[in-house]
């Protein structure tokens, strides 16, 4: 009985993994080939077809208050989503690598100073700090991307610093140093490749966080500006039509939750698979 249930658990995990992968492939496809998947324009208004419920007149997921097709808006919304996620995580990763390696390799005052700075950033709730940064940079997609990149630097910096410190004390690094390998070469050949698994897993999970926070910021009116399609913005617009058109609130959220689920699950899975010791 127990073994059967344990197998069941594994089956569920496999199912989750399969769904996540398929969904992420769908996202990628939707982002690159939006026009193939979406039958209507995401931005052109059609006031004769306002607030149509799902599955009427060829609108799979219905239309919004301006007559725009919700399915098409969701599909076109994948592109900004993946771009923001990739660039933000890229900024956070680049900043984190720089800070983390500097702190981990130099030690001493540099280390204390950098880590103090990182702790300073970490003492703000992420959403709040992102709002504050956006408030000075101005609203919009680019600003949010930069803001989220900055906000997540400490997460990577901490990871990289810890990894750098522990790798540098290992035997093979010392032997390599004794053989006369230069310090940058040691970082490149021994330290960086060894921390890759953790970095990949962390990036995947951070991607999910970035997606949620970008949606929250767009929901608050600070991120993507209308009429561009963005899931957060669609949820913001749905708030005034809860009575007439509940579908406006349901579908973009399902897409968002599924994205977060897939990235989270993949991140968990990767960190398990790439780190067999843990």
């Amino acid at each position: 009985m127990r073994i059967r249930i344990r197998r069941k658990r594994q089956k569920i995990q496999k199912l989750f993994l399969f769904t996540s992968t398929v969904y992420l492939c769908f996202l990628l496809f939707a982002a690159f080939g939006s026009s193939y998947l979406a039958p209507h324009s995401p931005t052109i208004q059609d006031l004769n077809h306002r607030l149509l419920p799902p599955l009427t007149e060829g609108r799979i997921l219905g239309t919004d208050d301006l007559g725009r097709d919700i399915w098409s808006r969701i599909v076109y919304g994948t592109r900004p989503l993946l771009i923001i996620g990739t660039i933000s995580v890229g900024i956070a990763l680049a900043g984190g690598l720089l800070m983390g390696i500097l702190a981990g390799a130099m030690g001493g005052i540099v280390d204390s100073f950098i880590m103090l700075l990182m702790d300073g950033i970490l003492s703000f709730p992420t959403v709040l700090l992102a709002i504050t940064v956006v408030s000075v940079l101005g609203y919009g997609l680019g600003q949010v991307t930069v803001a989220l990149g900055i906000v997540f630097i400490p997460v990577f910096a901490r990871l990289v610093r810890a990894e750098t410190k522990s790798r540098l004390t290992e035997g093979y690094v010392e032997s390599s140093r004794a053989l006369g390998t230069s310090f940058p070469m040691i970082l490149l050949r021994h330290v960086l490749p060894n921390m890759m698994p953790d970095i990949i897993a962390q990036s995947t999970v951070t991607f999910a966080l970035v997606v949620v926070i970008e949606a929250s910021l767009s929901f608050l009116g600070l991120g993507t500006q209308p009429p561009e399609p963005s899931w957060g913005l669609m949820l913001k617009e749905s708030r005034n039509f809860l009575y007439q058109a509940p579908w406006m609130a349901i579908f973009p959220g399902v897409a968002l939750a599924a994205t977060v689920f897939s990235f989270n699950y993949l991140g968990d899975y990767l960190s398990e698979q790439l780190n067999p010791i843990r």
Partner: protein, 330 residues
Amino acid sequence: MASVPSPLEPGPNTISGQKGLRIPFFILLVRKSVRLLLTMLLIPTVVFFVLRVIPGDPALVVAGFDAPPEVVEDLKVKLGTNHPPLIQYEEWILSLAQLDFGTSLISNEPVLKLILERFPLTLSLAVAGMLCALLIAIPLGVMSAVRRWTLWDYGGMVFSQIGISLPSFWLGIILLLIFAVKYPIFPLFGGDSPWHLVLPSIALGINRGAVLLRLVRTAMIEELGKEYIITARSKGLPELAVRYRHALRNALLPVLTIAGIQFGYMLGGAIVLEQIFSLPGLGRLILSAVFQRDFPVIQGGTLFIAAVFSLVNFLVDLLYSLVNPRIRVG
């Protein structure tokens, strides 16, 4: 009969397998307080950097880039940005030390007063959300751990995996859709009765509860596998007492610490949820300040929330080492 030490009972120094010097609580208090003080200095520094150094001159941001120069000059004097950055920084830290957060550009009221008016609502929302999260996480987590590899456990796993993925602001909208629009049990728009806090705190709680559930499960499984549990069982204690009086108590320690850290995220989440549920809390104050370019309020509000966040972490840390002397090793 002379008592024979049981081989199952841990010796005095074998707890966690660590032997260490115990630090008196007082010294620990001093150490952590110094750290808190440092953080409290660090927070305004980050805010200063973000709000005054990144944009060049905030007066320009507030007035708009095409504003006439005399308006900008006026604003510079009002915001105190007509001095070089270092002097600005010094002035700002000094005024903060006197709890002077400046005055709002829109309402001309002291920022601290505005914040203190709105903060109770945000705080109660965060506390209610945390309570909700614990009410979900502890019973479900314990059940998953006790009935490991049963339907309970795998139901818990599915719940936590999905719960983590549900953005709390979307959950808020869906709860509104169900319990305010379809079945009008709860009010659709804001107010300040506890009734208005029910839906937003559930929305906040489910997401964090899903995170904590996993922790409760892991901690509980770990505790149930320890030797003192075998001792307690062999003493003939009823299973319920073993589970809840012995194992759960110890398992809750790490969980509560993480819950304390999560509290800061609750504050962040509350900002967004206030917008959905039209609750007049600190989050809405900051957000409307962002839209109206009310610079001192953005500055003060951000600072205030970060300070509360750090204070909560400090208290949790302290409480943790107070109730769990094992942590007090240096």
